[in-house]
Symmetry: C2
Subunit: 550 residues, 2 copies
């Protein structure tokens, strides 16, 4: 009988105790002084550590990221950073300053150009680009963090945290770190006597510091209706009539962008005229977009579960607890992990946009010189093959004659045939393939794979790609709605006729859409000001959206 | 400009206040007396409510489920029950007694025969059968609960909860309910002055009651090595050599069953002889199986994140915090949602077993007269198409010549060619198809779809199904390892030879496995007693597993 090897089994716990003992002179309870934070980070973090730095596309642990970038690279070097979003300049300064050298991440919108250059220059070794919950999953398996740097709204004297509307990913990354004897450091905007409610219990947190200013919070999901074009309104009519109504889409995700904002603002007008209220768009996995206000106020929407909060929407949300997820204290709780899970498994439809689509339907927002990543799109924009419940929309996608009666998620790509600058969206080969070679990625950063896309909406019509029998027919269907692009011009009148006859594509005529109506008067709100009016004055837009009307 | 419809937007919050006011004479703080629980349930729950009743395959809110079954069906009727697992007799009594009539669930192992009969008799209207996280996802979208009935280990006087090793699904279902103004009722085993740590904050909970006895906890993942057969040992050798070693599988999920228990017990013996320590099986999404102890003690395993706890493993886990997820208090925290997410996205391999597989590779544990559901298997046992990070194992599955370089998850089915009673596991048509018709399900309860299965391991060898080019070739490969079954006998020597040449199947000879060694002496532990010895006496097996050796 073999016996235990008598290895020490508490190395991580011992290491945590040692690290925290190095700051014993600087800490009271769990609290450290703002001025000491760089020194605290230099003592509790060690070279080669895996450090998860909170920063997703909304909330940023900005005081902690700035402080980490101010650390000495003699004390801290070769850090392996894990980040949902590479968003702030100092996120990349950390690599330039040789504090960090490895990176696993999901999204890099604002830094996508600089990050591409730094990877090419070998200043950053990229592990992989992930979806959000794929990255969170790895925090429990093979990317368990040594240290988490997170942001909260408030702490009480015991060290409990309130994260409120912007709870987002904080509980998940804290859980992965705290329960594997990692060290959790939180910046807070305020220290208060009593929290509205506890979002993260004190026993999960090691070090708390008051930030120099409130954490950075981006109003990323606010779209000013003034900028919605008539082409976007036409595409929104096509989507509502040709996709949402056709398949009775009851539950869905909308992301960022003017295309989907147009759909939201057409529900109380065009949708109402089609008598669709209560029949479509009742249950949402979505951020609290201001452009959802008219549909909510008109009684279209039963529930919205959110990934994060949205600046300016706080009072409106608090006044609409029947719709949003709100705690006993009256403020929202978002949860990026749970909303992504719901958006993956529990909604009928994902709709998104892309910068490039190849001729068979693969798409990516990664283009040459810009490594943007995807965030949650690939998670929600695929057919979740572990889904087993059925709805009308899901069953509509099944192949005829399949005795296993297996439906599919509706994955819709919606975009104009040309990008700004008149660059066609349809390309022979995705830039992603070349980018992967240059950045030495294991696999090209494709956002949505062709075999997952069920519908394509352009200003030319709707292509029902789920009905196509082969890649060749899919290509024909894409070409038929590709307009005046190289691909579009390969589509003959004869092909288009056949595809329309077979119901593989549909034009505004086929869908009985009155093109004359596709103008801005169809928008339920034509400006931020009108959104505020719809909200009974509860929506409080951020400063930068007020310039037009104050 | 339209204005708000002035609907009341706080209906759910008002209803919650009204419901709680009905028990104001019975509640002190958040606490109600045990004797009053039936009356409390009758007053805060209303007919037609959606009630989520905690009960997964380990922890059960057994005091609350018994109490609900004792309610009057004049007070409570037409409840829509949502349950991860239909496990206890009173779960179905609720339907017989006409307290509930609708059910959405995931798993019904112990009640699978009775539930099938009741559905046929139309005593239960089944919505859908789900995976766990699919069901949890719907709690935030279109199955938002009015009431949650959950179980915890301890509460403090303020109403904070400690759920410890069996945290499991509790935080997720509480979050879905509490933040949409539903009512959260928790049974606890103890009320204490100070919790070891807080798992669920007080402000998420409305009513707490001390259970009449500790909540039911099943040692579902304990497998006595005495019952492992030599055929299982042979299959385990095939899996280790032909799958784990071949593809360098570093991260994985093992579920329930003797097949995978045999693999676990062969790592420190057979695996060691192949010099595989540190090369395979380092990172796990798995419950804390006692049969993992020898591999842990031999230094094979870096980390295990768990769905739930396992009875008897508490002290061992507390002494191995480097491996398990353990809080600052020293006890484990499991999390079914996060572990399923990790098991879906972050591991290379899922391995499972089935009761039936059809000739092209679809499988199900649902057989005529038994509607068992699947729990987490379809979630982890499919290729997650939202995955974007790559590993050696994942890339091994890619199709040659695909410029998108898209790998796949390894989804392995491992089973003997015959079930107990000599019934072949391979069937022309899954019973699930007929069951779906009889139970009026939207879609047949298939556990793993053929196109997701990459490997099949039987006592005859390994079939590398991911290499097959067509359903016809996949059928040939399955037949080649199907032994003396109707399907197996269609396989000719010539076919087998070709499939071996092409590497689509492999036998023990091909894999250089010494069949003579496949006997019980290869098990690192041959009994529960030896597991206890490996654990230095820290593993404390439940009573029913001690009968053999005390």
């Amino acid at each position: 009988m073999p016996t235990s090897t008598n290895t020490r089994w508490t190395k991580k716990r011992d290491a945590k105790r040692d690290r925290l003992s190095r700051i014993s002179s600087m800490i009271e309870g769990k609290f450290v002084q703002q001025d000491n934070i760089v020194s605290v980070l230099e003592r509790v973090i060690e070279p080669y550590d895996r450090v998860i730095l909170e920063g997703n596309n909304q909330k940023q642990a900005s005081f902690l990221s700035k402080s980490l970038a101010n650390a000495s690279n003699e004390a801290l070097h070769h850090l392996h950073l894990i980040m949902s979003s590479v968003s702030r300049p100092e996120h990349l300064d950390l690599f330039e300053n040789e504090i960090a050298d490895r990176l696993d991440f999901s999204f890099s919108g604002p830094q996508s150009t600089r990050i591409a250059q730094m990877i090419e220059d070998e200043e950053i070794k990229v592990g992989n680009i992930h979806t959000y919950i794929e990255l969170y999953g790895r925090l429990f398996i093979d990317l368990i963090p040594n240290v988490a740097l997170v942001a909260a709204d408030q702490a009480d004297a015991n060290g409990n945290l309130y994260t409120g509307a912007n709870t987002e990913e904080t509980p998940t990354i804290v859980e992965a770190t705290a329960f594997k004897n990692g060290i959790v450091i939180a910046q807070v905007n305020e220290i208060v006597d009593e929290l509205p409610r506890v979002d993260i219990p004190s026993s999960w947190v090691d070090v708390i510091v008051l930030g120099d200013e409130p954490y950075q919070l981006e109003a990323l999901f606010t779209r000013d209706p003034r900028h919605i074009t008539e082409i976007q309104i036409l595409m929104a009519m096509l989507a509502i009539r040709g996709v949402y109504e056709k398949h009775s889409v009851q539950s869905l995700n909308h992301g960022i962008g003017f295309n989907t904002a147009a759909i939201e603002l057409l529900l109380p007008t065009y949708g109402e005229s089609l008598n669709l209220r209560g029949k479509i768009c009742k249950h949402w996995a979505a951020n609290p977009h201001p452009t959802l206000i008219p549909a909510i106020e008109s009684g279209w929407i039963d529930s919205i579960h959110s990934f994060g909060g949205e600046k300016g929407m706080e009072q409106y949300i608090a006044a609409r607890p029947d719709v949003f997820f709100v705690g006993s204290d009256g403020t929202m709780r978002s949860n990026r992990t749970l909303c992504q899970m719901a958006g993956q498994y529990a909604v009928d439809l994902f709709i998104g946009s892309t910068l490039q689509m190849d001729y068979v339907g693969n798409s990516s927002t990664v283009v040459r010189g810009r490594l943007a990543g995807f965030g949650g799109a690939p998670n929600m924009g695929h057919d979740p093959k572990g889904r087993r419940h059925s709805t009308k929309a899901w069953l509509d996608m099944q192949k005829t004659g399949d005795e296993l009666v297996r439906g599919r998620k509706l994955v819709v790509q919606m975009m104009e045939t040309h990008q700004p600058g008149n660059r066609p969206v349809f390309v022979d080969q995705l830039d992603a393939i070349q980018v992967a070679k240059e950045a030495n990625l294991g696999t090209p950063p494709v956002m949505i794979y062709a075999d997952d896309v069920t519908h394509l909406v352009t200003e030319e019509g709707v292509a029902y790609l789920y009905k196509s029998d082969s890649p060749a027919e899919r290509k024909e269907a894409i070409a038929a709605v590709a307009g005046v692009t190289e691909l579009g011009m390969t589509s003959t009148a004869r092909q288009k006729h056949r595809l329309r006859e077979q119901g593989i594509i549909a034009t505004t005529d086929d869908l009985e859409i009155d093109v004359k109506k596709s103008n801005r008067s169809l928008l339920a709100a034509k400006s931020i000001e009108e959104l505020v009016m719809w909200s009974d004055g509860l929506y409080d837009p951020p400063e930068k959206f007020r310039s037009y009307w104050t």
